[in-house]
Every structure is written in C-alpha cells, then in structure tokens.
C-alpha cells in the first residue's frame, strides 16, 4: 500500500513518542491559534498527523490517544466556536478521526502483526539461513577437506584426474598433475598431455563420446618417462547438457613391473624347460599337449607348433597305444610315473623307447589336477644295447658250450693219447729189455765181454726209457686229475710211504724221524705222491751215507703250514736251486744218481695246485763225498683258508707237459 510505504518512509529518526508529543502539541497550538484567528478549517488536518503517528506506532494505545485527541479537538472546537455547522463538522470529523484512527490502528496492528510475522519469518529465515550457512560452510569445509584428501590421494597414488569436453578442451586437471604438467592454459588435451598439435589417432575421449560408454584402457605418459597408467574414461553430461569425459588415470607402473617380472620369470622357466636336456612334455586334463620342449622335438621329430593342442595319442605307436593310454590315465588319478617305459613314435614312423617320470601339477586347492608334466629319457639305445648284450651272452654261452665240448673232446683225446703212450710205448720196450736179457742169459757163453757189455747198455737204456715214460705219464695225469679235498694226516701218510720205499732198500740203514705235523687239507693221493717223491729222493741221495738220516717236521709260518723233509745226503749246489723243480732238470748226472728229473716237478705241481709253494735249501759237500744234505720245504695253506683253496685251485687244464 502506497500509504504504508510512504509512512514507512517517514522515519524521522526521532522516537515516536517525541513525534507524537510534538505534533500533538503543535496541532493543538496551531489549532488554538487558528481558532483564535478564526480559521477553523485549516488546523483540523493537523490532527491527522499525531493520530496517524500514534496509531502507527502505538496501535491500540494510539487509538485510545487518537480518540482522546479527537475529543480534545472537539473540545477545542466547542470551546472556541459557536458555529453549529462547524461543531457538527467537528463531530463528524471526530468520527472520521476515529475511523481513520481505527483503520490506521487496525492496519498498524495488522502491519505489526505482519511485521512481527515478517520479523519472525525473517528470524526463522535468518536462523535457517544461518543453519544453512553453517551447514553449507561445514559442507564446504567438508568438501574442501575431501577435495584435499582426494587430491592428496590422487597425488600420492599418482592417480590423475582430468575432465575434457567434447572439443577436447581441458576443463579440469588435478593439482598434482598440474604441478608436473603445468597450467593447462586453455590448451587442448592432446597438446597438454601428448604435446601433439592434433588429436591422438586413438583418442579415448572422442571414442567414449561416440559410444557414450565407459572405456577402460591402458596408456603411457611420455612426459613422465613413459609411466604406465590405466585410463578409465567416463562420458557424462554437465549441467548444461553438454557431453564431457572424465578420465581417471591409475598408475600401474608397479603392476607393469610385476607383470614384466612375471613374464621374465615365466620366460626363464619356459627356457629352462625348453632347453633342458631331457624331453619334457606337459598335458592338460583332456590329455592334450600343452608344452613340448626342444629335446622332445628332437626325440619325436615334430616341431612344438605341430603338436601343441593335439592329443597325446599322436605320439604313440599303434601297437602300444592302448597300454600307453592306460598309463596316461593312471596319472590323471593322481599316480605318478617313476621310470615307466613308454614307446614314442617319431614323425617318420620310427619307434623309440623312453623311460618316463611324471608329476602332477595341482591347483591352489592342492587337490585338483591342472596338468601333468613328464620327463623322459631316450633309452632306445640302452634297450638296443641290452638286447645286444643278451644276444651276445647267448652267443657267448653257445660258444662256451662249444668250447667246453671242444675242451672235453681234447681232454678225451689227451687221455686216449696218454693211454696209448703208456701202453703202446711200453710194450716194445719190454720186448727190447726182455730179449736182450734173454740174450744175456742164454747166449752169454757165445758172447765176449764187449758183447755182454753192449747188451747191458741196451738193457739199461730201456729201463731208463721205461722210467721216463712212467714219469711223463704221472706228470700229465697230474694236470688232468680232479682234486678231492679232505683232511689228511701227513705224519701217518709219510710213515706209510717210507715203509713202502724202505722195502726196496734192503741192506741200508735209514733212519726216519717224523715230528708233529699239523693236519693238512688236500687231495690224499696227490699228497701221497709228494711225500713219495720227496722221501724217495731223500733215500736216493743219502745212498752214499753209512747212515741215512731223514727228518720230516713242521716249520712255523703265518697263515700257512710249512713242512720240510731234510736229509743228510749229497745235497746240491744252491746256485742251481732254481732249476731244481723244472721238468727233466737234474743237478746230478745219471751216472751219479739215476732219475728222470720229473719227481720234483711233480711235487711242485701238486703243491701249487693246493695253493702252497715249494723251495729247497742245499749245501753241497766236497766233490761228491759226504755232503751237508738238503732240505725241501713245501707249504700248504692253513686249514681255514683251505676251504677257499678249492675255488682257487685251477681246474684240470689241458696244458701239455713242458
């Protein structure tokens, strides 16, 4: 209302009371002056001023005051005028005053109320505004903090945030990035980031704007030394409805490094497997080949590319395919191979045999088999070699059998030969001897001394020959003989042998002393032969002594029993001791002592076959006269070792007599 407005504009700055008072007094004063001057009309409007002011400012009180003023006015009028028309007008004016006062009061009250309401509202509003402001401030604080946090995080994680519009203008660059790249300064995205004057050929922003879909891709920031980032490009519409893209760039350098490292490790492991010496293959749960190393390529003649993804069947020769597949199956149930033979068919059809070890690769749960890896060893050569060895062994056995047969045949031949020799050689000898003896006996008278002597020579030589033949036969028989080991009482045997020999030496004084001899373990007949030969020798070579002393005793020895036969006979020259045991070797002429020189050779042979040894000591006397005698030693292994002597003993060899 214009009135209100203009009234509100009347802000005198004074207190309303003062204003009312002043104007009332002024009105009254002027009224009185006017009344006194006779100007009744002019002053009545003056009263409007205090009335209105009072009503405006004091509402109800003002109204009451207005009524009072009205009556004061009336009073004044009545007091100063007698004009009834003016009095009636004045009465009317009182009502007008009241009315105006009332209206003004009413309006003031209303206005007051409104004002109160308004101020209440304003208060409320102010309160709200304050609240809102506080909230807003808080929110702004919060936002600021958040923004700082985000920017901090962005900076710390090197995650960059940028917003580009559809013209590729930069709308927002996070502060950290700005620190590196600088102020965008209205540059376009490609200018700022990639320093290109035109858009990148595979510009993400443009792509995403075209598809209106979020895109995740990887990129490299050349300005930062080719730092790897993962870019999530998000298209959105701003408040104006324009399309823009927000890009979140997450640093993936670490990840890339890890990937690289992983790739390196994988490559390294792949290399290890690939260049390993042994053929290595892996297959999956469907028995398809997943890895195939170089060594296997060499073994199978296939390139890895040819077989990867194929089934394992391809590598097996048809004959063994079922068996091999069975073995493969066993690995999928968790078993593993440890040196299993599986033949492999090469590309060219050739079959090679290999020995395989396998192991299963499990998933993280440790139970599910993911793949099986097998490592092999080409043993085709070995198998071939084994077959060859077997064949050779069989051949060898055959040959051995043949040889044995041959040897046996040779043996037989030798036996028959010896037999022949013994019989066929001796027979004519007997004849020679016999007939020359008959000659001597019956035709002695018809012969002169020379004749008789000649015949005697013939007889003597036939004897010699006979002896030789006997000895030869004995010696050869020795080699052929099988030894039968048993405990032998040498002392008793020696005594028996001596008894026998002594019978042929009538008229001689021969003393034989036997000491305590340790029991021997050997072939009885052979040992008898030894004693026979040694004692016969002793007897023979002591012939020149008036009393022959022969002694047999034991000598201490380590691990062996040493026996000796000592005589006081003619002895021998130690210089030729080494010849003693040779076949047909004699150290005395046949005119001194008869003998064929085989006796000691036989002794040596027998003792050697028992695993012992022989040696002799002799001292020659002066020129064939009383000598210092000879001692012949022979050793036999001590009882414990004798058991093994059978294994050491040489079997009957077909060696001919030297």
């Amino acid at each position: 209302m214009n009135l209100n407005k203009s009234l509100q504009n009347i802000r005198l700055g004074w207190s309303p009371f003062v204003a009312v008072a002043v104007t009332t007094l002024a009105a009254i004063a002027i009224s009185i002056y006017c009344l006194l001057s006779g100007w009744a009309i002019i002053f009545q409007n003056l009263f409007y001023v205090p009335i209105i002011i009072a009503c405006v400012y004091y509402t109800k009180k003002g109204f009451v005051f207005s009524v009072v003023i009205s009556f004061i006015y009336l009073f004044l009028i009545v007091a100063f005028t007698r004009d009834s028309a003016i009095i009636i007008e004045a009465l009317m004016r009182v009502f007008i005053f009241a009315g105006i006062a009332g209206v003004t009061t009413f309006m003031s009250i209303k206005r007051r109320r409104l004002e109160d309401e308004l101020s209440q509202h304003r208060e409320n509003l102010e309160k709200l505004v304050k609240e809102r402001t506080t909230k807003l401030e808080q929110t702004m604080e919060e936002t600021k903090r958040l923004k700082q946090q985000v920017e901090f995080i962005l900076g710390a994680t090197k995650t960059g945030l940028d917003i580009i519009d559809s013209e590729l203008n930069i709308r927002y660059i996070d502060p950290e990035w700005q620190k590196i790249y600088g102020d965008p300064q209205g540059r376009k995205c490609h200018e700022y980031f990639m320093e290109r004057s035109d858009a990148c050929p595979d510009c993400r922003g443009l792509k995403t704007l075209a598809t209106k879909q979020v895109m995740v891709s990887e990129g490299v920031l050349p300005k930062e030394g080719n730092r790897h980032v993962q870019v999530t490009t998000i298209p959105f519409q701003d408040e104006k409805g324009d399309w823009q893209v927000a890009e979140i760039n997450v640093d993936i350098s670490e990840r890339k490094r890890a990937e690289e490292s992983l790739r390196e490790t994988r490559d390294y492991l792949d290399s290890l497997i690939n260049y390993a010496n042994a053929p290595i293959i892996t297959w999956d749960t469907e028995q398809r080949i997943t890895k195939f190393n170089r060594a296997f390529e060499k073994l199978a003649g296939y390139h890895a590319a040819e077989v990867i993804g194929q089934g394992l069947r391809l590598l097996f020769p048809s004959e063994s395919i079922a068996e091999s597949l069975q073995k493969i199956k066993s690995t999928s149930s968790g078993e593993f191979w440890d040196a299993v033979e599986i033949p492999i068919k090469r590309k060219n059809g050739e079959v090679r045999i290999a020995l395989w070890n396998s192991a299963n690769v499990y998933a993280k749960d440790g139970k599910t088999i993911v793949a099986t890896i097998a490592q092999g060893q080409d043993i085709s050569e070995r198998i071939r070699a084994e077959a060859e060895i077997r064949r050779l062994n069989e051949e060898l056995e055959q040959r051995v059998l043949q040889r044995t047969a041959q040897l046996e045949a040779a043996h037989k031949e030798l036996e028959t030969f010896s037999y022949s020799v013994s019989h066929d050689l001796q027979t004519p000898l007997r004849a020679i001897d016999g007939f020359s003896r008959i000659m001597l006996d019956e035709y002695a008278s018809k012969l002169d001394n020379e004749g008789r002597r000649l015949l005697t020579v013939i007889a003597a030589n036939t004897h010699k020959m006979g002896q030789l033949i006997d000895d030869l036969l004995a010696f050869s028989r020795l080699s052929r003989q099988q030894m039968a080991f048993a405990p032998v009482d040498l002392a008793a045997l020696a005594a028996a042998v001596f008894c026998e020999l002594k019978t042929t030496e009538k008229g001689r004084r021969i003393e034989f002393k036997i000491g305590a001899l340790p029991a021997a373990f050997g072939d009885r007949s052979m040992l008898r032969q030894v004693l026979q030969n040694l004692l016969a020798n002793a007897i023979k070579f002591t012939r020149l002594q008036t009393k022959a002393c022969i002694e047999m005793a034991e000598l201490a020895g380590k691990g062996e029993n040493i026996y000796y036969v000592k005589d006081n006979g003619v002895g021998f020259d130690m210089e030729y001791a080494h010849k003693l045991f040779g076949v047909f070797q004699r150290l005395h002429g046949s005119d001194e002592f008869e003998g064929t020189g085989v006796g000691l050779a036989i002794v040596q042979r027998i003792v050697l076959r028992h695993g012992g040894r022989v040696w002799a000591e002799g001292a020659e006397g002066a020129e064939g006269a009383v000598g210092k005698g000879a001692t012949f030693y022979f050793s036999l292994p001590a009882a414990a070792k004798n058991e093994t002597a059978t294994s050491k003993e040489k079997p009957a060899d077909a060696k001919m007599v030297k």
């Binding site: 037999y419 013994s422 019989h423 066929d424 001796q426 027979t427 004519p428 000898l429 007997r430 004849a431 001897d433 016999g434 007939f435 020359s436 003896r437 008959i438 007889a459 036939t462 004897h463 006979g466 036969l473």
Partner: protein, 147 residues
Amino acid sequence: MKQMDPVEILLVEDNPADVELTLRALKKHNLTNKVQVVSDGAQALDYLFGSGAFAGQYNRLPPKAVFLDLKLPKVDGLEVLRRMKADARTRLIPVVVLTSSKEESDIVESYKLGVNSYVVKPLDFDRFVEAVSALGLYWLLLNQTPF
C-alpha cells in the same frame, strides 16, 4: 699144442714178443707147456665158446686160468671179460688181466666186471719173469678151480 690136449692156460695176447717172453717165463720154472695162445679177442671168444675157428671143440675142460691182455684187436680185453663173466659156461673160469696199462679206469672197470686178478706187466724183464712165474705158480698149482 695139440688141440685135444687139456689146456691149462689160455693166453690172450696180440704182441708176439710178449707172447714169447711170457711162454719163456712159464717154461723157466717148468710150470706148464699146455698153453693155448690166441692173438685177438674174437679168437678168444671163439675158443671159449666153441665157435668160429674152434667150432666143434666145445666139450673139453676149461683152462685153469685165462691170462688176458686188454689192448686187443677186434674185440678188446674188457669186452672178452664181460662176455666171459656174463655167460654161465665161462663165468667160473679165473681171469687174470695181464696188461701194461696202469690206468685206474681199466683197473676199476676190470674189477667191476669181476676180474679175478689184475697184474701190470713190469717193464723190467727180470721182474716180468718173476711176475709171470708167480702167476703161473699160483693159478696153476696153488689155486683150486671148480672144474
């Protein structure tokens, strides 16, 4: 030797020298002159069983001993021995193997076949004569035969 004269010794020996020496030895001690000599195993069997060259002479007294050499042509000594001991007609006749073989196998085999004596012919003539004499003495004079 007249065929009808009783034969005391059948000498089976192929070597003429040995035959002569043996006969001389037997003669030396006047042991006998009734010796039938055959020079191989076949003849020996013929004589003993009355076949071949000696057919028709079966009915007579068997010899007091057979001196048998082992190495004989045609049929060898061991075979003769075997045949003799296998046949009831000749089993009881004493057989003395008189051979130069000292081989154990021969000795064992002979005894297995039931030889009555095995003598190795000594090489030395004197010994030979002694041995033959001793044999003659024993088998002709000392030993009693069942016939």
